[in-house]
Structures are given as structure tokens and as C-alpha cells.
């Protein structure tokens, strides 16, 4: 589904990603953990070109992102993204947040889009809030709407950039629940997270990143109970 070869990314003189290789298989749930500043989010943002890459290759669903001929908008329709800060459109109602892209990009009619989007809102338990505005919702509700908005494009895979980090602790569960459900349905997911419980329970594989490289990767139970590298041990000791 995604193939990353020797990915490098610099901001000016600062190299943030220093050569990353990674393959994500269809239906796989990959969680990325690591200290802040390790490049996790930048890595994720390179996967849909929100950050242009400086070196190496990222191939998503057969499209080479570094090839200037690749229609990046086309690729993005296949890769849903969920942000830490939700980034819902505050001037649009919940249902309109979902309907916009399917109508403008997929060229669905208003009824088709509404049908599809209402089903998704039901799925994330937000159907009765369809006609409210985002700021009337709690953080957890907003994030569930944001997940539904990304799903409305019927993407082949989903990127989650610390989806629960901006939430009050008691609201984290409802968002993780929706993500778990999605994983069980076979969605390919790439999740940058601090929720070790989620990574352990739902992840097929966990990557530990530090200082711009993948230090260690393994099945969650292996990585958490038997970390190989010293840096991983150190990190896990600090947070667990």
C-alpha cells in the first residue's frame, strides 16, 4: 500500500528525517511512537505530501509522490487524514464538513453525498449532531466528525496524526473506540500516537522513532515487553 525508501526531509538546514525505509501492507495498522521532535508527525505528513519530501521515495498505492507528474490531489483522495487539532471547518455544519469534498472532488450529487455522509455520522455516533456547528461539539465529538469527514472520500488508507493528544482524558476513549472499529473493518491505518494501550491492542506493528530514524519496529507485544534498543527501553521506561 505504502512503500517508503530512504526518505529524507529537511527544514532549511535542519534534517528532520534521516533516511526512513518502511512498507505498509494493506489492512495493516501501524502505530508510530517516540519522543516529541523525533520526526513522527513529519514522517506521517510526508505520506500525503503535506510536507514535500527532500530526498528518497514515497510510493502510495502505486503513485510515486516525488514524481512531478503525479496528481497529488488524486493521491490524497485515497489517503484520509485526521489531525491533532481536528481542523473541522468552523463555518460549515457537521454534515457540510463531510459533504464538501465528496461533492467537489468526487462529483457526487447533494443527495448522494448526504446519504453517504449521514451513514458515516451514524457510524461514529454523531448523526444527531449533523446540523450543528463544530464549535458546539466537545473535542471528542469533533474528532469523531473529523474521522467521518476523512472517511467520506472512501479512502484506501487513513493517517492519524496524534488524534487524541488535544483531547481531555475522559474524551480519548470514544475516539479510540471509533478507530478500533475502523481497524477491525480492515482499514489500512498509520497512527502517530501516545496511546500505548491502543498501539498494543490494535496495532499490527509498532515503529519506535527517535532523532529522524526508525530505531526499532516489531509486533506490539514484542516491542513493549522486550525492547531491543537502549533508546526504546529508555523511552518506554519514561512513559509506562
Amino acid at each position: 500500500m505504502i512503500e517508503v525508501k530512504d526518505l529524507h526531509k529537511s527544514f532549511g538546514d535542519t534534517e528532520v528525517l534521516k533516511g526512513i525505509d518502511c512498507i505498509i501492507e494493506p489492512s495493516e495498522v501501524v502505530c508510530v511512537i517516540g519522543p516529541s521532535g523525533s520526526g513522527k508527525s513529519t514522517f506521517l505528513r510526508c505520506l500525503n505530501m503535506l510536507e514535500p519530501i527532500t530526498g528518497g521515495e514515497v510510493i502510495v498505492d502505486g503513485y510515486n509522490l516525488s514524481d512531478p507528474k503525479t496528481d497529488i490531489n488524486m493521491v490524497r483522495t485515497e489517503v484520509g487524514m485526521v489531525f491533532q487539532q481536528f481542523n473541522l471547518f468552523p463555518h460549515k455544519k457537521v454534515i457540510e464538513n463531510l459533504m464538501l469534498a465528496p461533492q467537489k472532488v468526487r462529483k457526487l450529487s447533494a443527495e448522494e453525498a448526504r446519504d453517504r455522509c449521514m451513514k458515516l455520522l451514524e457510524k461514529v455516533g454523531m448523526a444527531e449532531k449533523a446540523d450543528q456547528y463544530p464549535q458546539q461539539l466537545s473535542g471528542g465529538q469533533q474528532q469523531r466528525v473529523a474521522i467521518a469527514r476523512a472517511l467520506a472520500m472512501e479512502p484506501k488508507m487513513m493517517l492519524f496524526d496524534e488524534p487524541t493528544s488535544a483531547l481531555d482524558p475522559e474524551l480519548v476513549g470514544e475516539v479510540l473506540e471509533v478507530m478500533k472499529q475502523l481497524a477491525n473493518e480492515g482499514m489500512t491505518m498509520f497512527v502517530v500516537t501516545h496511546e500505548m494501550g491502543f498501539a498494543r491492542e490494535v496495532g499490527d506493528r509498532v515503529l519506535f522513532m527517535d532523532d529522524g530514524v526508525i530505531v526499532e519496529e516489531n509486533k506490539p507485544e514484542e516491542l513493549f515487553s522486550n525492547p531491543q534498543s537502549e533508546r526504546t527501553q529508555e523511552f518506554l521506561n519514561k512513559i509506562l
Binding site: 464538501l100 467537489k104 456547528y133
Partner: protein, 219 residues
């Protein structure tokens, strides 16, 4: 003191003042509509990724903002016709002056408002597969427009009062009419005060309309 002034007699000059009001309104409305379009174009041009567009916009904004409206009016009415060998009617020249002048300030208002919208909004739009233009149009612009309203109201009021300078290029607006009347009837204080009340009537109405609009867009 007020007893020395004869405000009752200004009523007889109302027809003439209303003619002035008509031209003030005409030039303000048409000028500001064009000014808003110019402002949108150059405001977005100012933040364009295309360097040429950026420099052109900066050039326009800085030249206009850095020179007095009075001089701009004289250039456009007296100098421009000599260059292009084409006579411009004073009213048309007036509209051009207000449009060009307000356009430069509105460009900065537009730029500020667009740049104030959180970067995450553009990213969210793009991540859904919308292209840059679609995201601007459906997501960034509507939010930015709401933020433009207060400073736009300010600029509109300034531009309306700027039309008074157009009397020097013989636009028959309010001040021009007032000066004619005052010169013939030696009632400068009464006439100019009346003229000021006319301006107030326009600007207060505008403030009211914008307040309403702001409240309606506020969800």
C-alpha cells in the same frame, strides 16, 4: 453664538446639496465595488507563490498607500488624459481614484484576513483532495471574509470621506456643491455643517448595515 447662524435658510439649498449627495454616493458605491475587486485580486496576489504577481501587488499597494489621494486625483484627471490622449470625465476620474485608492488598502485587509486563517484549514482541505483553489474558495475565503468586515467598514468610511477631495477635479459632489453655495451666499458655517450631517447620514447607515451583516454571519 449659535444665534448668529441662520440654519433655517439652508433648506432652500437642499436640491443642490442632494445633487451633491447623489454624486458622492455614486462615486463611493461604484468606486468601492471596483476597489473591493482590486483589493481581492492584489491582496491574494500579494501572498501568491508567483514572484511576479507578488512584486506587482506590492508595487501597486505601496505606490498608492504612499501618495496623497489629492495628488492621485490630479494625476488621473489632468495628467493621465495627456498621456493616453483621451479626455476623462471628472466623475469617471473620481471613480477611478476611489477604486484605485481603496483597492490598495483593501488588498492589505484581504491579505491580513486570509493569512489569519489557521494553516490547518488549508491542510484539512488539501488532505481531502481539494485543490488549492477549491480550498481557498470554499474554506479559507468564507472564513477570511467574515474577518474582513470590520476593517472593510472602516475603509469604506474613509473612502467615502475621501470623495470630498474630488472637488478639486470638479466632481460635483457634496463638498463641491457646498463650496459653490457658500461662495455665493456667505454662509460657509451653515452649509458645511449641513454637508457634514449628510456625510454622517451616509456613514452611520453604512455602519448599521455592516453591523447587521456581521451579526448575520456570526454563527
Amino acid at each position: 453664538m449659535i444665534g448668529q447662524f441662520d440654519f433655517t435658510s439652508v433648506v432652500e439649498f437642499f436640491p443642490q446639496l442632494f445633487t451633491g449627495l447623489y454624486y458622492t454616493l455614486l462615486i463611493s458605491v461604484v468606486g468601492l465595488i471596483i476597489g473591493f475587486v482590486l483589493g481581492a485580486i492584489f491582496g491574494l496576489g500579494r501572498i501568491s507563490r508567483v514572484k511576479i504577481t507578488q512584486y506587482l501587488s506590492i508595487f501597486y499597494i505601496e505606490i498608492i498607500r504612499g501618495t496623497p489621494v489629492l495628488v492621485q486625483a490630479i494625476w488621473i484627471y489632468f495628467a493621465l488624459p495627456l498621456i493616453i490622449q483621451f479626455e476623462i470625465e471628472s466623475i469617471v476620474a473620481g471613480i477611478i481614484v476611489i477604486a484605485l485608492n481603496s483597492g490598495a488598502y483593501i488588498a492589505e485587509i484581504v491579505r491580513g484576513a486570509v493569512q489569519s486563517i489557521d494553516k490547518g484549514q488549508m491542510e484539512a482541505g488539501r488532505s481531502l483532495g481539494l485543490n488549492h483553489r477549491q480550498t481557498m474558495r470554499h474554506i479559507v475565503w468564507p472564513q477570511a471574509f467574515k474577518r474582513m468586515i470590520p476593517p472593510l467598514g472602516n475603509q469604506f468610511i474613509i473612502s467615502i470621506k475621501d470623495t470630498s477631495l474630488l472637488s478639486v477635479i470638479l466632481v460635483p459632489e457634496l463638498i463641491f456643491q457646498g463650496r459653490l453655495i457658500a461662495a455665493n451666499h456667505f454662509n460657509a458655517v451653515e452649509i458645511y455643517t449641513t454637508v457634514a450631517v449628510f456625510y454622517l447620514a451616509i456613514t452611520l447607515t453604512l455602519s448599521l448595515v455592516l453591523q447587521r451583516l456581521e451579526r448575520r454571519l456570526d454563527i
